[in-house]
Amino acid sequence: MTSAMSDTASDKPAAKPATPDATEEVVLVRKAQKGDLAAYDDLVRRYQERIYATIYHMTSNHEDANDLAQDTFIKAHHALKSFKGGSSFYTWVYRIAVNKTINFLKQRKNRTHMSLNDLDFNAEHDPDLVALVSDRTPRRDAGLAELQEKLNEAMQKLSEPHRLVVTLHDVQGLAHEEIAEIMDCNIGTVRSRLFYARQQLQGYLADYLK
């Protein structure tokens, strides 16, 4: 997968019609290409949370995610002149982030050091999560913090492509088509990876799911 995903990310035709938001993005990109740093600052603000979150869920480490997210936007700025607008800026930056993260994880190999972010207060009120920590769970003493740690450990056991598909689809809510475009593979590959990754996770977290 990674070999097919070049760092500067080849552009593909955008499938979606241009929305007002997309038009505004095109204007910002053109300004940024001419050296307007304020315009680039706007672009960073638009996507910083999603890019950071993707990297964070892949690494389970806030500090690494911070460094890699910053490096992603700096690299994107350096390569901005080569961006022709064939794909959306969003997809293009995502590819840079994904490639950077996968390269980083390969260098890190199995030396996983988790540095997890705190759970938002609202997690305690999510009905799905409340149900998981209910009497249906064999580990009734398991709180959300323990579940968070076990879930991240299980995620780190997945291979990078499988972890990426789960992150983009089940955590960030991207469509199969978008994931296929970011990962530069077909939709069937995305689906089969998602199936396998969920199956793996279910096995790792069996004690917390039955």
Binding site: K75, K100, N103, D120, L129
Partner: protein
Amino acid sequence: MKPENQDFENIRRLLKLKRYEQPPPRYFSDFSGQVINRIRAGYPADRAESLTATLEMPWLQRLSSVLDVKPLFAGAFGAVVVGVLVGAAVYSDEVDIPTASPSLAVSQVPSPAPVTPVTVSVPVGNSGAFALGAGSSTNAGSIFDRIGTPSVQPVNHTIFRQ
């Protein structure tokens, strides 16, 4: 069975937990500013990768990579190496002298010849007289010769000549 038909409802629910993992408050309010500052300062885009790669190198390769990119370090490193070599050479010369000299000096001293007292006259200054013994160094050419001798008087000294 198609992949979509398998029930992964529980694992999907559990994965929702990750959406609640949030970085520290106000983290994103500073983020873009840091990126723009790094762009203005001309920072490289591969900080994390280069750091990780550097940490994984053996020490010799790491040293070499530091010297490659920083000529000042390379110069300083070269100067230190040369200094150590010169210091080692000087130290080894100094160590050789005391080991060889005393034994040779003792063994090669000729047997004393009959001593004949000789009286010579040496002009010296007011500071007083001094005696020259056999084998001692003379003061010829010394900086003390340049000091003026306002009142010179002849003084008789007795020395022993072999």
